[in-house]
Assembly symmetry: C2
Homo-oligomer: 434 residues x 2
């Protein structure tokens, strides 16, 4: 018999159908024995009243793979408004060991210990709510792709195995590459700038590696980044507008398409203003110092509590979950940034209090690049810079872009406490498996 | 003035417009001075007849970034049917060094030395034909995503940094991970099987790493793989049909959408039969031995010349660029394959003579997996297997899928001689940059 999916049951009332899936829950109440089956579309309830059929399930645990054939009966108390009666049970795969965690618990894992959760990640992901998180993640990534493709950005795919010098900033992982030392890319920074010389507008969604020995709620050692770069821009504002426009479009769409799931997951209500509010770092220091009494005016970067504070301000006063911090001081800059008088043409996009993207304009003049790299103490003849600098020497228009954390976007869209909860199999200083 | 794109010129005949882009070609013929400008849409020709404007270009080389403002004149000899006259030149970025390779050559790089090509990859990619290759690549990947999403496959994103034991087969890269040894994933094999227990149908497009010390026309050390896995399949044939259906749909679409580009690149005509022809490995050995006189009947795998031979046979006799080799002998199998009587439920999909995908059915019974792993001499208690085996212990339906080489698909779609030509910045035993 052709397989019917759990969410199609109510279209087949009165018919005999076969469901296939995992035993997700058993409620054996003496006379009334219900089991819940899970398939890729959701859950369905079946009433098993025949003793021989019930006997087939004896000793079998959650996870057992079943075919259930029976008659569809409308029942508004059942999930989806229909359930299966007069059921014949066929066991495809027996599970005889009781799972070490409860897969069918409707609540999320917030109160549990995250280490226990990841130790049992293989089973924990079978939880319906966990699945919602990763379907939302897949949608967010697809909406980003759709948006960028519609705006003539070409998706590129660049190497993560690099020779020698990189852009600096984070610690890098090193490996033996046939006798040479290779590093794992901490970003596709150089490649996306090179590719501006080819396609003008490019993006990549891929892994970046940061050997940071810090265990926080917002860091991973292997992360998924959206990298965007666009050429022929007239101003830093144009880059900021592009990134803000994309982020607003993608969030609006995910809140529209996944409304029910986001509600189940207790995601915050989405607040977006027509314009993403923007404050300079100096302004934020002033506002924060006045509001809290803690003097941050000497800080070069925003401190994490300032990020939370300005986000709260933007949400409450300006109705926006997104806010830009702009004009970072020169001391915080990298050699490839475009410098202004006293600051850098560099903004951070904050979403609900977390920096999700850095959005700078790049220096595109070859001579100035050489000057800025030399000033930064870098060897412009090093192998890692040689090819990168070719792109500038042979003509790159003014360009800018962003490094945008996909894991962080998912975390904050749903309102998860830790970035690791937004990642299927996270990697940090303490965790390399599963 | 708002920027006009090169492909929009013919819509603005008689108007004054501004183009922005790279100086792509100069033809200074005394009285008639033409320059070609390249932007992300293509090329446009401009006639520079004013001496002062011409003077601005003196000493400037290919790659110089320009704004050209002038009047659009219809001319059927110009690319796009229109060109710019009475041009004012504004130099955005000067290039004063002559590029080490000719970027504007209309021919491809087949006759050139590939090492020279990759040494100048940053500039070589600015060649219009190179751009076509990577636009076709981006389209192929997007069509695959579209197809799989429409068939309820969820895109997943799994770690490439692994602890300890893996599925075997290829050499792995090792790195220091905060004092532990980590390996780079040679495939997402374990993770996609684990995820069948979550979403039933999953796919991932990501990097895989193979530390093979071999330099061939079809191997990379960092490759891009499409990995698919689907649960609740009734047979190996169902998996083979899914992979064949996707491949046919994607190829048909790319030949439709990129017809002109594929023609320019001299891609072979696409031949697809209603059914992808399938032959067992034993049959292919027999057919090849009879046809060529070279006895391969004792080989466990297909030899490369057999792959070419059966592909030729399928194309000429059966009108198909795709052909399956099925029923690999047990000696060639891995521990996670589903064994048949004397062979394995494992097929290879060949495209124009190259294996582009392995398409096996998996063993999904926990006890049999333990048995097969033990028989293969593996330690089932090793850290790298522990979590993987949880998925089986707690219920996995029958499933199968494929590992599908994206770089190889692009190579063979276009008809490139070497897999590296299908990769922006390829990695092999000798090349780690650019």
């Amino acid at each position: 018999m052709t397989r019917t999916m759990t969410d199609e049951l109510s279209q087949h009332v009165g018919e005999t159908v076969s469901l296939e899936g995992w035993l997700h829950k058993k409620r054996l109440l003496g006379g009334l024995n219900f089991i819940t089956l899970r398939d890729r579309r959701g859950l369905a309830q079946s009433l098993i009243d025949n003793k021989d059929e019930l006997e087939k399930l004896r000793g079998l645990q959650i996870g057992t793979v079943l075919t259930l054939t029976g008659t569809v009966v409308a029942d508004e108390r059942a999930p989806g408004g229909a359930e299966l009666h007069d059921v014949t049970v066929e066991v495809q795969v027996s599970v005889t060991d009781e799972p070490p965690i409860e897969v069918d618990k409707p609540i999320l894992h917030k109160s549990e210990n995250l280490d226990t959760l990841f130790e049992h990640r293989v089973l924990n992901l079978r939880n319906i709510n966990e699945q919602k998180i990763f379907k939302i993640r897949a949608s967010l990534v697809q909406y980003i792709r759709d948006y960028l493709q519609q705006n003539e950005f070409v998706e590129i795919d660049t190497p993560k195995l690099l020779a020698g010098a990189t852009e600096g900033g984070a610690e890098v992982f090193k490996l033996d590459y046939f006798g040479q030392t290779a590093t794992l890319a901490q970003s596709p920074q150089f490649y996306k700038q090179i590719m501006v010389g080819v396609f003008e507008r490019v993006f990549e969604i891929g892994h970046s590696y940061r050997a940071e020995p810090s265990a926080t709620t917002r860091h991973l050692t292997e992360l998924t980044m959206l990298d965007i770069e666009m050429g022929f821009v007239k101003s830093h504002q144009e880059v900021m507008d592009t990134v803000a426009g994309m982020t607003k479009a993608v969030l609006t769409k995910v809140y529209d398409q996944h409304a029910a799931d986001l509600k189940t997951l207790n995601a915050p209500e989405l607040k977006l203003a027509d314009e993403v509010p923007a404050f300079t770092v100096a302004e934020i220091h002033d506002m924060y110092t006045k509001a809290t009494g803690t003097d941050t005016t000497q800080e070069k970067d925003l401190i994490p509590d300032e990020e939370r504070w300005i986000a709260e301000h933007a949400r409450k006063q300006l109705g926006s979950d997104l806010v830009y911090a702009t004009d970072f001081p020169k001391e915080a800059s990298k050699f490839y940034h475009k410098f202004k008088e006293d600051t850098v043409a560099w903004a951070d996009l904050l979403f609900r209090g977390l920096e999700i993207a850095t959005v700078p304009l790049r220096e595109n003049n070859y001579d100035k690049m050489i000057e800025q790299m030399t000033a930064a103490g870098l060897d412009v003849n090093a192998d890692g810079f040689k090819y990168y600098l070719q792109a500038f020497k042979y003509g790159l228009p003014q360009h800018g872009g962003c490094g945008f954390g996909i894991d962080r976007l998912v975390q904050k869209t749903i309102g998860l406490g830790n970035i690791k909860e937004a990642t299927l199999f996270p990697r940090d200083i303490n965790r390399l498996s599963p």
